[in-house]
């Protein structure tokens, strides 16, 4: 009888623990909705700082917005996301972004080698 009580108490604790697991995770993903959690956080951190200014849905830079919108990419289906990542890889490998003209005005906007490597590891799928 005592054993049974102990066993069910353990089981109950286990259920509680498992229930709590995803809740512990959720605060780590600010603003990104569940279905859109495609882009890893370390990548988003670089994007936010170095790309997002021009490449977002509200961007005043028409060309930048048209070529790439990170919000759209984050919500894109697999085929579109893979195609876009391939193009991002090519642009990064050619050091085409951020544009030279932009860097003349804002040299601190340049991607560091480390940031470029972070983005490339993700976009080319050669992570870890």
């Amino acid at each position: 009888m005592k054993k049974l009580a102990l066993f069910s108490a353990f089981g109950f604790a286990l259920i509680l623990f498992l229930q709590a697991m995803p809740k512990n995770d959720s605060p780590l993903q600010p603003e990104i909705s569940d279905e859109a959690a495609q882009i890893p956080e370390n990548v988003m951190a670089v994007v936010q700082q170095k790309c997002y200014g021009c490449h977002n849905a509200e961007s005043k830079n028409e060309k930048g917005k048209e070529k790439l919108d990170w919000d759209e990419l984050n919500a894109a289906k697999k085929s579109k996301a893979l195609a876009t990542m391939k193009k991002i890889t090519e642009v990064l490998e050619g050091d085409e972004m951020p544009p030279e003209k932009f860097l003349e005005r804002k040299p601190e906007g340049k991607l560091t080698d480390e940031e470029k490597a972070t983005l490339l590891a993700w976009s080319s799928g050669k992570k870890k």
């Binding site: 289906k77 697999k78 085929s79 579109k80 893979l82 195609a83 876009t84 990542m85 391939k86 193009k87 090519e90």
Partner: protein, 156 residues
């Protein structure tokens, strides 16, 4: 006055003849293309017709050279456009591209056709039959998207 025009005319004629001597090589035509997109599972009858009439002159090894494409200065423009066109996308080399490249290309096709960037206006200006109807644009875009989904399924 009329004498001046005569000289100008003769001068122009000489220049026109002289520029024919400038070396200019038109990209070669190949009839056997084992890697052509028509050999892939993705080609569809209706799309094949549209692509062949509107894209294949520049985006394949099966260019149809009209007579004036051998005459400078048109030949220079034709050679340049076809060289660059094949470089960007060559439907005759389709199976040699890796699947991610194919996805990126199809995504570009969707955008270029949607924005009416392609076929180039200077091309359709001469090739009326290559002008895309709205229904053909829509069909191409839908095919590109459909094919992207199918290719994406084969990845990972």
């Amino acid at each position: 006055m009329s004498k001046l025009w005569k000289y100008v005319g003769i001068g122009l004629l000489i220049v026109l003849i002289a520029i024919q001597l400038v070396p200019n090589e038109l990209p070669s035509v190949k009839s056997e293309n084992p890697a052509d997109i028509h050999e892939s599972p993705w080609m569809e009858e209706e799309i094949s017709i549209v692509i062949k009439k509107a894209c294949y002159d520049c985006h394949s090894n099966q260019t149809n050279y009209p007579w004036y494409s051998h005459v400078a200065p048109f030949s220079w423009l034709v050679a340049k456009d076809i060289r660059e066109g094949r470089e960007e996308l060559n439907f005759s080399e389709w199976e040699n591209y890796d699947p991610l490249d194919q996805l990126a290309i199809l995504d570009d096709i969707y955008g270029e056709v949607e924005e009416e960037e392609m076929p180039l206006p200077i091309y359709t200006w001469v090739h009326w039959d290559a002008k895309l109807e709205d229904s053909e644009r829509k069909a191409l875009m839908e095919w590109a998207e459909r094919t992207m989904d199918k290719i994406a399924e084969t990845i990972e």
